[in-house]
C-alpha cells in the first residue's frame, strides 16, 4: 500500500503558564492509502493533537510531516488551507455545520472551493447526501432543524464532497447515541470499503473495531499498533484481537 502520510520526529509542545507541556514526543508514523486508521488512547494522551497536526490544521513544534511525499510543515497558513481543501475531509465530534447555511449549502460551500461549476457541485452534493441517507426533503433545512445523527451524516457528506485523499474524523460518534452512532460508523465504513482513506480518533472500542489498523497513543508517543484487517460484521476474532491489544496497552 502507498504511504499517504509520513511523519518524522513529530513533536508538539504547549506552554501553559510558563510550564512546557510535551503533548507529542518524537512521533514517527506512516498512514497508508485506503486504510481506516484508528488513533486510540486515554483522555489527554495527545490523539486529537496528533490528528490535527497530521491534517495541517495545527502546526507541530518540531519534526516533519509529508503528505503524499510533499512536506506540509513548511507551508504557511494559506498554503495549508489550500492543501486541506484539495486533500482532506473533516468530520468533527460537534459536527460544526455552519448554522446560517442550509444542509445543501453546507455541503456545497466545501464543494465550490474546488470546483467552480455550480451545477456539477450541486449534483455531486445531492448525490453524496443521498448516499449518507439524507433525503431531498432535508436539503433546505438548517442544522438546528435536524437531529444530531443527521447532522453528523451531513458532516460526512461535506467531508467527502471533494473526494479527498484522506478523511480525518475526530470522535465522530462522541456526541451521538448508539443507534445514530452506528449509522455514522456504517457510513464511514461503506466509504472506506469503496477505497476512501480515513483516520479516526476515538476512545470507543465499538468505533475502533471499524478500523483495519489501530494506533495507540500514550503520553504523547505511539505506544503500540494493531493490524485488524478489513472490517467484517460479526467477526469475533477481530474483536478479541482488538481487546487483547488494548489490554496490553493498559486500556
Amino acid at each position: 500500500m502507498d504511504t499517504l502520510i509520513k511523519t518524522n520526529k513529530l513533536c508538539k509542545t504547549f506552554s501553559n503558564g510558563g510550564q512546557m507541556q510535551h503533548v507529542l514526543k518524537n512521533i514517527d508514523l506512516e498512514i497508508y492509502e485506503g486504510d481506516f486508521t484508528i488513533i486510540m488512547g486515554a483522555s489527554g494522551a495527545g490523539k486529537s493533537t496528533l490528528l490535527y497536526a497530521l491534517s495541517g490544521m495545527d502546526k507541530p513544534t518540531l519534526g516533519d510531516i509529508y503528505f503524499a511525499g510533499t512536506e506540509i510543515t513548511k507551508k504557511n497558513t494559506d498554503e495549508l488551507a489550500s492543501f486541506r481543501k484539495e486533500n482532506c475531509g473533516f468530520v468533527f465530534q460537534q459536527v460544526y455545520l455552519v448554522d446560517s447555511m442550509s444542509v445543501l449549502d453546507n455541503v456545497m460551500a466545501a464543494g465550490l472551493l474546488i470546483n467552480k461549476n455550480r451545477k456539477e457541485v450541486a449534483a455531486r452534493a445531492k448525490e453524496i447526501l443521498k448516499s449518507v441517507d439524507i433525503e431531498e426533503n432535508m436539503w433546505d433545512k438548517f442544522p438546528t432543524q435536524i437531529s444530531g445523527g443527521e447532522a453528523q451524516r451531513v458532516g460526512i457528506a461535506r467531508a467527502l464532497i471533494n473526494d479527498p485523499r484522506l478523511v480525518f474524523a475526530d470522535e465522530p460518534t462522541g456526541a451521538l447515541n448508539s443507534k445514530t452512532g452506528k449509522d455514522v460508523l456504517d457510513t464511514l465504513t461503506n466509504f472506506n470499503n469503496k477505497g476512501q482513506s480515513i483516520v479516526m480518533v476515538t476512545h470507543d472500542i465499538t468505533s475502533a473495531r471499524r478500523g483495519n489498523r489501530i494506533l495507540y497513543v500514550k503520553d504523547g508517543e505511539i505506544a503500540g499498533e494493531c493490524i485488524l484487517g478489513k472490517y467484517v460484521h460479526g467477526d469475533e476474532d477481530r474483536h478479541r484481537k482488538l481487546n487483547d491489544f488494548l489490554v496490553s496497552m493498559g486500556w
Binding site: Y52, A81, K85, Y96
Partner: protein, 783 residues
C-alpha cells in the same frame, strides 16, 4: 457591593475593545453636546452681556444728510415724552462707503468721532487695548478690525472719504455695542482731535450727522416708537437719511455667527447622538450576548440577576461618566477654534470660561442615557437560565429562510457567502444603512456650505443685488455723472438704486430697494415666488415679512414714508439674509408715490469686468467729481471682505463634518465587525478547517457590509441632494431664507458617496483582519 465591583472590573477587562469603542462614541456625544451648549449658553450671550456692561440703552437714532433744525429742542420734542433718558451728540456720518477690511473692503455706514466718543453718558465706547506711545494722526478701530480684519496696533490704516485719502496709525481697538460689527452695518472710528477737525472742516457740511442714544420709558414699544419717529423725522427733514437701530437687532447681528455655528452643530449633534444611540444600544446588547457564558457561569454559582445587571450598570455608568468628562474637556479644547470665528464675527473680546452647567449637562445626559439603555437591554439577563446561558443559548438570528441558495446563486462562492451574511445579520446591516445614510447627509450639508459660502459663494443669498461696483453722487451732479458713467469704457448695465426704510402699519418696516428699472437687476433669483415688480403700483417683498403678516403674492400692502402712504400690489416674494429678511424691491416710479427724488442723491450700480476694472472706474469717478462722490464701493473687494468669516466657518464646518463622519463610521464599523466576527468565530473556524483562506473570509465579511453601505450611499446621496435645500431653508428661515436654491455639485455628492464607501470598505477589511487570528484548531477544540 465588592463582588459587583469585581464583576464590573472583570467585564471591562474581558471586553476592552468594545468598551473602548463605546467609550469613544460616548465621548464624541458628550463633546458635541458640550460644544453646542457652550456656543448657546456661553458664546451667544456675550454680545448681550457686553451691551449691559456698556449701558447700551434701547437703541439709537442716527440722522445724516439733512440735519437742519435738529437741535436740542427738536430732539426733546421728538422723543422727550417716550424716553426716560437720551444722549445726543454730533459726528461725521457716511452712508455706505468702502473701507478696508480683511482681504478686501466692506461698505458699511461709518460714523467718525473724536476722542469725545469716550465720554458718552451712556452707550459708551470703551478702549479694549491701546498703545499710549502712538501719537500724531491716529485712529481707534472697532475690535472686529483686530479679530477678523487683520489689523494690529501700530499698523497704518488707509481711509478714503469723499474722494480724499487719509492715513492713520492704529492706536487701539474699541468696544461699542452698535458700531462695532460688520453684520450691524455700521462702524465707529475714533480719530485724534486734529484729524477729526481736518476732516470736519472739509466734509462737515455734507457729512455732519446727529446721533441720539435713548432709553425708553417703561411700557413704550420700541418697534412702534421706531416707525413713528422715523416718519416724524422725514416729515421735517425729507432728505434725511435716518435710521433707528434697536438694541436687539445689534445683538442679533453680532450673535449671528455663533447662532449659525450653534445651529449647525446642533443639527450635527442630533445626527451623531442618534447614531451613537443606535450603536450603544446594539453594542450593549452584543456585549451581553458575548458574555452569555460568563453570565451563565455566574448564575450557576449563585449570583443573582440583579447583581450581574448591577455590575453592568456600574461598568457602563463609569465608562459614561469618564467619557463625558473627557468629552466635556475636549469641547473646551475645541471651543477656542469656534471662539475665534465667533469673536471674529462679534468683534467683542471673548474667552472661553468654565461653565458648570455646560459641563454638567453633557455628563448627566450621557450617563442617564447610557443607564437607561443598559437597563433596557440587560433586562434579558433576568430571563436567562444558567444552563441556557452556559450553552450561549440566546440566539439573535433566525435562519428560517435561505435567501441565497448556493445551488442557484449567480454569484461567486465568496460573494454568495457574503450575501448570506448580509441577510442573516439584517439588524446590523439596517444600522449600517441608516448610519451611513445620516453621515452622507451631514457631509452633503458640509459640501453645500463649503460650495455656497466658500468655493463659489452664493452671492445672491448674501446680498440683494450683484454688480461690479457702486458709486453715489450728490444731487447736484447726478444727471451729469450718469452720462459720464455711461461713456466710460467697460461700464455696462447702469441702474440707479436707492434704499429707503418703508413703514408698514406702524408696526413693522422693510428696507426698500428702489431701482430706476427693476428689470435691469442681475440677481433676479432673489425673487423665489411670483415675479419682480414692473409697474408703478407693484412691489416685491421678502417672504419672511409676508409670512409674518399673512401676506402673499396678489395681496395689497400699504407702506408709509414720512407723510405719504401708498398701497401696492405684491407681485412676488424675495429672499436674502440681510436686514433680518425684511426687504422689498420696487421701481422708482412706484416709490415716487412716497418720495420726491428730485433732490435725492443718486447711487449708480454698474457691471464691469473684474476687480481692477471696478477700481479704475471708481478712481475715474473720484477724479472727475471729487467731493460730489458721496460713496463708492468695489463690489469684488466688498464681497471678499464680507466673505472672510463665511469662508472660515464653512471650511471649518466641512472639515469638522468630514472628520467626525469618518471617525463615527470607523467606530461603528469597528463595533459591528468586532461583534460580527466574535459571533461567527466558530463558523470561521469551520470554514478555515474546510480550506477557506483567511483572505477569502476577510473579503466575505467586508463585502457583507458593503451592500448596505453602497445602498445607503446611493439612496442618501439622492435624498440629501434633494432635501438639502429645503432643510437649509428651514434652518435659515429666521435669517430670511425662504426657499433654498443653493448649488450642490453633483460631482461633490458622488465623491462623498464614493469616499465613504471606500473608507468603509478599507476599514471593514482592516477590521476583518482579526479573522486571521482565528485558528480553526483552537476554535474547534474550544480553546
Amino acid at each position: 457591593m465588592e463582588k459587583i465591583k469585581l464583576l464590573s472590573r472583570s467585564n471591562f477587562r474581558k471586553n476592552k475593545g468594545t468598551c473602548v469603542g463605546l467609550f469613544l462614541l460616548m465621548m464624541l456625544a458628550s463633546m458635541m453636546i458640550g460644544l453646542v451648549l457652550l456656543l448657546f449658553m456661553d458664546a451667544y450671550p456675550t454680545a448681550r452681556k457686553e451691551a449691559e456692561k456698556l449701558d447700551a440703552g434701547d437703541g439709537y437714532i442716527w440722522i445724516m444728510n439733512d440735519i437742519k433744525g435738529i437741535d436740542d429742542e427738536y430732539v426733546e420734542e421728538l422723543i422727550g415724552k417716550e424716553t426716560k433718558d437720551y444722549y445726543k451728540y454730533t459726528c461725521l456720518g457716511y452712508d455706505s462707503i468702502s473701507i478696508n477690511f480683511g482681504d478686501g473692503t466692506v461698505s458699511p455706514q461709518v460714523l467718525i468721532n473724536n476722542k469725545s466718543a469716550f465720554n458718552k453718558a451712556f452707550d459708551r465706547t470703551e478702549v479694549i487695548v491701546e498703545d499710549e506711545n502712538v501719537t500724531g494722526k491716529y485712529i481707534y478701530l472697532p475690535y472686529q478690525f483686530y479679530t477678523s480684519g487683520g489689523y494690529e496696533i501700530g499698523d497704518i490704516y488707509e481711509l478714503e472719504l469723499t474722494g480724499t485719502k487719509y492715513s492713520f496709525t492704529v492706536k487701539g481697538f474699541t468696544d461699542t455695542t452698535y458700531f462695532g460689527c460688520n453684520n450691524d452695518g455700521v462702524y465707529e472710528f475714533v480719530l485724534d482731535d486734529d484729524s477729526y477737525d481736518e476732516i470736519y472742516a472739509k466734509d462737515g457740511e455734507a457729512s455732519d450727522s446727529v446721533v441720539i442714544a435713548f432709553k425708553l420709558k417703561e411700557g413704550e414699544k420700541l418697534n412702534s416708537f421706531r416707525i413713528k419717529k422715523l416718519n416724524d423725522i422725514l416729515k421735517t427733514n425729507p432728505m434725511a437719511i435716518a435710521v433707528i437701530y434697536k438694541l436687539n437687532d445689534a445683538i442679533n447681528g453680532r450673535s449671528f455667527m455663533s447662532l449659525v455655528l450653534a445651529t449647525s452643530f446642533l443639527t450635527l449633534t442630533i445626527i451623531i447622538v442618534l447614531v451613537i444611540t443606535v450603536m450603544m444600544t446594539n453594542s450593549i446588547s452584543n456585549f451581553i450576548k458575548e458574555n452569555m457564558q460568563s453570565i451563565g457561569a455566574l448564575k450557576a454559582i449563585g449570583y443573582t440577576s440583579s447583581a450581574i445587571r448591577s455590575s453592568l450598570y456600574i461598568m457602563f455608568a463609569f465608562m459614561a461618566l469618564l467619557a463625558s468628562i473627557c468629552g466635556a474637556g475636549l469641547s473646551y479644547a475645541l471651543m477656542p477654534i469656534m471662539a475665534k470665528i465667533v469673536v471674529g464675527q462679534m468683534g467683542i473680546p471673548y474667552t472661553v470660561c468654565f461653565n458648570l452647567i455646560c459641563s454638567l449637562i453633557p455628563a448627566v445626559v450621557v450617563v442617564i442615557y447610557v443607564l437607561l439603555v443598559s437597563f433596557a437591554t440587560t433586562g434579558k439577563v433576568k430571563k436567562i437560565e444558567p444552563i441556557v446561558a452556559l450553552r450561549e443559548g440566546i440566539e439573535n438570528h433566525s435562519f428560517k429562510k435561505n435567501h441565497v441558495r448556493l445551488d442557484r446563486s449567480a454569484f461567486s462562492l465568496n460573494v454568495s457567502l457574503a450575501l448570506k451574511n448580509l441577510f442573516n445579520y439584517k439588524k446590523q446591516n439596517i444600522i449600517t444603512f441608516f448610519v451611513t445614510g445620516l453621515l452622507v447627509f451631514t457631509c452633503v450639508m458640509g459640501l453645500l456650505m463649503y460650495e455656497n459660502f466658500s468655493r463659489n459663494p452664493k452671492v445672491g443669498i448674501l446680498t440683494f443685488e450683484i454688480c461690479g461696483g457702486t458709486v453715489g453722487f450728490d444731487s447736484s451732479v447726478k444727471e451729469e455723472a450718469m452720462e459720464y458713467l455711461e461713456n466710460l469704457d467697460g461700464v455696462s448695465n447702469i441702474r440707479r438704486m436707492i434704499s429707503l426704510t418703508l413703514n408698514y402699519n406702524e408696526e413693522d418696516s422693510i428696507r426698500g430697494y428702489i431701482f430706476d428699472d427693476v428689470s435691469k437687476m442681475n440677481n433676479k433669483e432673489v425673487c423665489y415666488k411670483g415675479r419682480l415688480p414692473e409697474f408703478d403700483n407693484e412691489v416685491a417683498v421678502s417672504g419672511k415679512f409676508a409670512s409674518d403678516h399673512g401676506l402673499t403674492v396678489g395681496d395689497e400692502v400699504r407702506f408709509d414714508y414720512g407723510n405719504e402712504s401708498f398701497t401696492y400690489l405684491i407681485t412676488g416674494l424675495i429672499q436674502t439674509c440681510n436686514n433680518s429678511g425684511r426687504e422689498g424691491v420696487m421701481n422708482e416710479s412706484a416709490a415716487e408715490h412716497l418720495i420726491d427724488f428730485t433732490d435725492a442723491p443718486a447711487y449708480y450700480w454698474f457691471d464691469c469686468d473684474g476687480r481692477d476694472a471696478a477700481a479704475e472706474i471708481l478712481d475715474n469717478c473720484s477724479e472727475e467729481y471729487g467731493d460730489h462722490v458721496i460713496s463708492s464701493m468695489n463690489f469684488y473687494d466688498t464681497l471678499e471682505g464680507n466673505l472672510t468669516t463665511f469662508r472660515s466657518i464653512s471650511a471649518l464646518m466641512m472639515i469638522l463634518l468630514s472628520i467626525i463622519s469618518g471617525i463615527v463610521i470607523m467606530i461603528i464599523l469597528y463595533l459591528l465587525i468586532k461583534a460580527f466576527v466574535y459571533n461567527k468565530r466558530k463558523d470561521y473556524g469551520i470554514l478555515k478547517a474546510l480550506g477557506f483562506t483567511s483572505n477569502a473570509l476577510i473579503m466575505q465579511t467586508a463585502l457583507s457590509f458593503m451592500p448596505s453601505i453602497i445602498l445607503a450611499a446611493i439612496v442618501f446621496s439622492f435624498v440629501s441632494y434633494y432635501i438639502a435645500n429645503p432643510y437649509m431653508a428651514m434652518v435659515m428661515r429666521s435669517f430670511g431664507l425662504m426657499k433654498g436654491n443653493f448649488h450642490i455639485p453633483v460631482q461633490g455628492v458622488v465623491i462623498i458617496g464614493v469616499s465613504l464607501v471606500l473608507v468603509a470598505y478599507l476599514f471593514s477589511i482592516l477590521q476583518s483582519l482579526r479573522i486571521k487570528k482565528i485558528e480553526s484548531y483552537k476554535m474547534l477544540i474550544g480553546e
